[in-house]
């Protein structure tokens, strides 16, 4: 019987025996040659990486990239600033300021209320897509690209200027 304190809790513990190295092992050369052989072999194999950003991989259809705020068929902003995306965001990365649509702005905003300010903190976003799922107005989709790198943190606060779909015309 093994001693109780020696039994590992996971039951996976293996005690390794440490054998002294033999002569071949001690001179290291065979191992070095072996390693170099693998390295040279890879020179003639297909590359595992690509030349990003010149080259791009094909994304899966459900890839989640940068968010875009959508417009409807008539070019009006769909978002009604209901706050559900912000509510469901596990990273707490979305915030918005709602405003009332004024008479004469019907061509700009689809609903009576709209987001005057809409911001996502891309440093915080984990691209889970919950906001897209929560939106009752089909106003936000993570259908954009990979968020580009930047050297200034400030530039990761994406406002409507970066998120809103441009008007097609």
């Amino acid at each position: 019987m093994e001693k109780l304190e020696n039994i590992s809790l996971t039951g996976r513990k293996k005690v390794l025996e440490k054998k002294p190295m033999n002569f071949l092992e001690r001179i290291y050369l065979p191992s070095i040659v072996q390693g170099l052989a693998i390295t040279f072999k890879h020179l003639f194999k297909k590359k595992a990486t690509i030349q990003y950003p010149e080259q791009r991989r094909e994304f899966s259809v459900n890839f989640r990239g940068i968010h875009s705020l959508k417009r409807d068929e008539e070019g009006r902003e769909r978002c009604t600033a209901c706050g559900l995306c912000a509510l469901s965001c596990p990273a707490e990365a979305i915030t918005m300021i709602a405003d009332e649509r004024k008479p004469g702005e019907e061509h700009l905003y689809r609903e009576e209320k709209y987001a005057a300010v809409y911001e996502i903190n891309m440093l915080r976003c984990i691209f889970c897509g919950f906001c897209e799922e929560a939106c009752p107005k089909q106003a936000i989709y993570l259908d954009g690209d990979i968020a580009p790198a930047d050297v200034d943190r400030k530039n990761f606060i994406y406002g409507k200027d970066k998120l809103l779909e441009p008007l097609l015309k």
Partner: protein, 902 residues
């Protein structure tokens, strides 16, 4: 107690309630719409159905509306019964056929009873595929938004507005599937309690228009338990903030003070907090470079040390702030920043309540009074919430009688209302001019203040001959006094109301005499005396000198440095006096929240926190000490006045406040050193109070956007502010269950997102909160059993030629200094005109709109007049506190300038 079997399990419940109340009180989630704990049942929505069984053998049972069935001993009901569940789901589906499903756009979303009930009944998918019924919406004025398509026809709105609050301009119109809840045409909803519709309506038909200006969901706001600062009623409110802006005021249930409802001044008068006129920065005349706390404190302290200083306290500042000022300047140099007449009236009131034999009523006591006498008060404008309570009181007596006679429970609202018709408990209102409460009165008289007091004393004399007899009463007056005295003597729980409104000490004294006389004859009487501002009572209890003496002290060179606490002196004394006072003072240091005329004259301006940015204690007119809590930490140097004053004292080398740092220290110190405030340390849990080692969270657990909200200022999250003054945390971290009643930041329970979740915070629905309603009464009458009556012998009101007795008139929208910063309130403020009897105006040859020129205290004034046929002659009223109306220490005689007749 009765035994009620719910789904075969026995429960002990109170008899006399209905099944719905019983189930909710037991904690069951049973959906409902039309029933309201304050308004009773009508059985209109059919949402609250349960199965009721005859006995144990009965397996079929029948569906009943739980809100319409009284609790009976040994009754057996089922909430879970498949048929009942199906019926309730069917009702919701039916109600939803026409509902626009626009939760995303709707302001109610996230705090919507309809949403909650829909989820509760499990109606998930819409099957109705036809066109929805639509309506045209109305413009209902500045307070409420109207979106009729969302209506589910529960009738709660008109039951509140018409039946409960006595409004006349909202009604149910049309028939069948087209019933419309609105006004007969677009226009401002007139009732002073209209804002409650936003809470009463279970859907988004009526929503808060002021919230719409800066809309935020309930879950996204930081909330705090607060107190309305609009008047001395002390209504409990929830104040809610986001992005450093106060966004909404909603009512916070307190069964002893305001129940479920608050008035529109309280609900919509908050916008000054966000106003452009806010004092947000430190200002030192001639030294614009001083912008930070430390250099300000150094400069101000140097100036305070330079000369002899006096402090002017404020009835709208917290007890703590007034206390700190009094400590800083010394008791002898502490003056009350209130008009002298007001000072006398409030001190008299305090004396009557302390030394008299009768106590002030709580809200339920007002609502259960069975005979009411109002002397001189225009209540809707001086104590708005009380009128709503009186409206319930006058129905209560006849209702109870009928309920007993017909064997119908009181909560059967429709039946009882039908039976009562116009029957009312006796309410006598004797005021100088027609007032709102006249519609409740069995008899209204319009008399000058002198005559009101004469009638009051005469009634007291008729009740108890020990009160001095009043001579020279007219026959009519004699008849009415005898009648009123007889009615009051027949009642069991009479209520006498008076206060500062008529500006007359004699009126208040006569009311006290009536109450004391009734008490002497064995009645369970209450005496309610209104006072003007949210902490008028606290300031009076603290003690201090009259403002007049402060003006004198500076005029005579006894003091030269003045510290003014949250006060605009131009609203407290005549302009010439204040001008002189401020000019003569070497240094004027002002701590306040909003710019006003006094601020323009001050050399040091210190930004003080409003009720949303400060904690403190207020004493209401009832004598109840209550605490309000900071909602958010403002940017910049703004902080609580008491904190500023404490730091100022330190900087001056005044050690009296050195040992005080946080709110608790001040509260304890006040309780310890001022016996009249003993007990204020117990009105709320101390700052180190924790539940399971947690503070109570001001933010709902769904609060969103915390990593993004301030990212434009600083990308790395800022450390959230910590609150050392209260047991509340400023973030969503903390306890989210039901906290002690005094520190409930918002009402929420799982599945109950709307304000209806209050049910879960009460011991039994409609009753007090779990650990008692917050606040503590500090003023109880003395032990004297035989009162010492006032022996005043006022002469009948003299009508003097070329003179007019001008009395102040208050306006719920307009008089209060801060609430008029809300555009909605300002738009409803009355015209700045003197109202006089038509006959008087005729005798001067003046008509409506003409200018009246007069002299008062040596000053000349010119104001437009309005005429009213019902005014007593020789007397006029002036709405005070309005923009464009100069301060006059009313009431008083004004001398008319001879009118040049062409």
């Amino acid at each position: 107690m009765a035994t009620l079997f719910i789904d075969n399990a026995p429960y002990q419940v109170k008899e006399g309630k209905n099944l719905l109340e019983a189930c909710l009180s037991l904690g069951f989630d049973l959906p409902y719409f039309c029933w309201h704990p304050a308004m009773g049942s009508v059985g209109a929505c059919r949402q609250c159905a349960v199965k009721s069984f005859r006995d144990e053998e009965d397996t079929r049972g029948k569906l009943v509306m739980s809100c319409m069935e009284p609790v009976r001993d040994q009754a057996r009901i089922s909430i879970q019964d498949a048929e009942a569940v199906g019926f309730r789901a069917g009702i919701i589906e039916w109600l939803m056929t026409n509902h626009p499903h626009d939760c995303a756009v709707c302001d109610e979303g996230g705090s919507c009873h309809l949403q909650d009930m829909t989820v509760m009944t499990g109606h998930n998918y819409r099957r109705f595929r036809f066109n929805k019924r639509t309506y045209r919406n109305q413009d209902l004025g500045p307070f409420l938004n109207h979106e009729m398509n969302r209506c589910i026809h529960c009738y709660r709105c008109i039951r509140f507005y018409k039946d409960y609050a006595g409004g006349k301009d909202l009604d149910a119109m049309g028939a069948h599937n087209h019933v419309y809840f609105g006004r007969s045409e677009d226009g401002v909803l007139e009732n002073e309690f209209s804002g409650n519709l936003a809470e009463v309506c279970p859907t988004g038909v009526f929503t808060d228009k002021s919230l719409k200006q800066h809309y935020t969901r309930k879950w996204d706001m930081t909330h705090a338990p607060s107190l309305c600062q609009g008047c001395a009623m002390g209504c409990n409110i929830i104040a809610s903030e986001r992005y450093g802006e106060l966004r909404q005021i909603s009512s916070r249930f307190n069964g002893e003070v305001n129940g479920y409802f608050i008035c529109d001044r309280g609900r919509f008068g908050y916008e000054f907090v966000n106003s452009e006129d806010r004092i947000r920065e430190i200002g030192v005349k001639g030294k614009p470079e001083i912008k930070d706390r430390d250099s300000l404190l150094r400069t101000a302290a140097a100036r305070i040390r330079e000369g002899s200083v006096l402090g002017i306290g404020s009835p709208r500042a917290s007890l703590e702030s007034n206390f700190a000022l009094r400590k800083l300047v010394g008791e002898d140099n502490f003056y009350h920043g209130v008009a002298d007449t007001e000072f006398d009236l409030v001190n008299l009131t305090l004396r009557i309540l302390k030394e008299g034999t009768v106590r002030t009523p709580t809200l339920p006591e007002i609502e259960s009074a069975d005979a009411i006498l109002i002397l001189g008060e225009d209540l809707i404008n001086t104590a708005p919430r009380m009128v709503l309570a009186l409206r319930q009181a006058v129905r209560r007596g006849p209702g109870e009688a009928l309920s007993a006679r017909m064997n119908v429970p009181l909560w059967q609202d429709a039946a009882i209302r039908q039976a009562i018709q116009q029957d009312k408990a006796p309410l006598f209102s004797i005021t100088p001019y027609p007032v709102r409460q006249d519609e409740l009165a069995t008899k209204s008289l319009y008399e000058s203040p002198d005559d009101i007091s004469r009638i009051g004393f005469a009634i007291a004399h008729a009740i108890d001959p020990d009160v001095t007899e009043i001579k020279r009463l007219s026959d009519e007056e004699r008849m009415w006094t005898a009648h009123m005295a007889a009615v009051l003597l027949r009642a069991e729980r009479p209520l006498i109301i008076s206060g500062y409104g008529a500006g007359s000490e004699a009126v208040i004294k006569s009311a006290a005499d009536v109450a004391w006389a009734l008490k002497k004859s064995g009645k369970d009487v209450r005496l309610s005396l209104t006072v003007p501002e949210c902490n008028s009572m606290g300031l009076a209890m603290m003690g201090g000198h009259r403002l007049e003496s402060a003006l004198d002290a500076v005029a005579h060179g006894h003091a030269d440095t003045v510290i003014i606490l949250e006060n605009d002196l131009y609203r407290r004394a005549e302009k010439t006096l204040v001008d002189e006072f401020l000019q003569k003072s070497r240094h004027v240091i002002l701590l306040d929240q909003v710019y006003h005329q006094t601020a323009e004259e001050a050399d040091v301006i210190i930004p003080a926190g409003t009720f949303a940015e400060a904690d403190g204690t207020l004493i209401s007119g009832e004598g109840r000490a209550q605490r309000f809590y900071q909602v958010f930490v403002p940017d910049g140097p703004v902080q609580e006045s008491w904190r500023w004053l404490q730091q100022l004292a330190e900087a001056c080398g005044n050690r009296t406040l050195s040992h005080l740092r946080i709110l608790d220290d001040f509260v304890l110190e006040i309780a310890k050193t001022c016996p009249q405030f003993e007990g204020i340390e117990h009105i709320a849990p101390p700052s180190d109070f924790r539940i399971g080692a947690q503070k109570i969270a001001r933010q709902p657990h769904r609060y969103s956007g915390r990593t993004a909200k301030e990212a434009h200022i600083q990308v790395s999250e800022r450390k959230p502010p910590s609150d050392e003054d209260s047991p509340l945390s400023f973030t969503m971290e903390g306890y989210h269950g039901i906290p002690p009643s005094a520190v409930v930041p918002f009402f929420w329970a799982p599945g109950w997102n709307s304000i209806q979740s209050i049910n879960k915070y009460q011991i039994e629905v409609g009753g007090p909160l779990h650990d008692g309603d917050p606040g503590r009464r500090l003023i109880e009458p003395g032990d004297a059993h035989t009162p010492v009556f006032f022996a005043e012998q006022a002469a009948p009101f003299p009508i003097r030629p070329d003179c007019l007795y001008l009395i102040p008139q208050y306006a719920i929208f307009g008089t209060e200094e801060f609430s008029v910063h809300s555009p909605g309130i300002a738009s409803r403020s009355p015209a700045a005109a003197i109202t006089v009897a038509r006959a008087d105006a005729d005798s001067w040859g003046l008509r409506d709109g003409d200018l009246l020129e007069f002299q008062f205290n040596g000053q000349e004034y010119k104001l437009a007049i309005q005429t009213n046929q019902q005014y007593p002659r020789g007397m006029g009223t002036l709405p005070i506190g309005l923009k464009g109306v100069p301060f006059m220490d009313l009431p008083g005689w004004i001398r008319l300038k001879p009118v040049e007749r062409s």
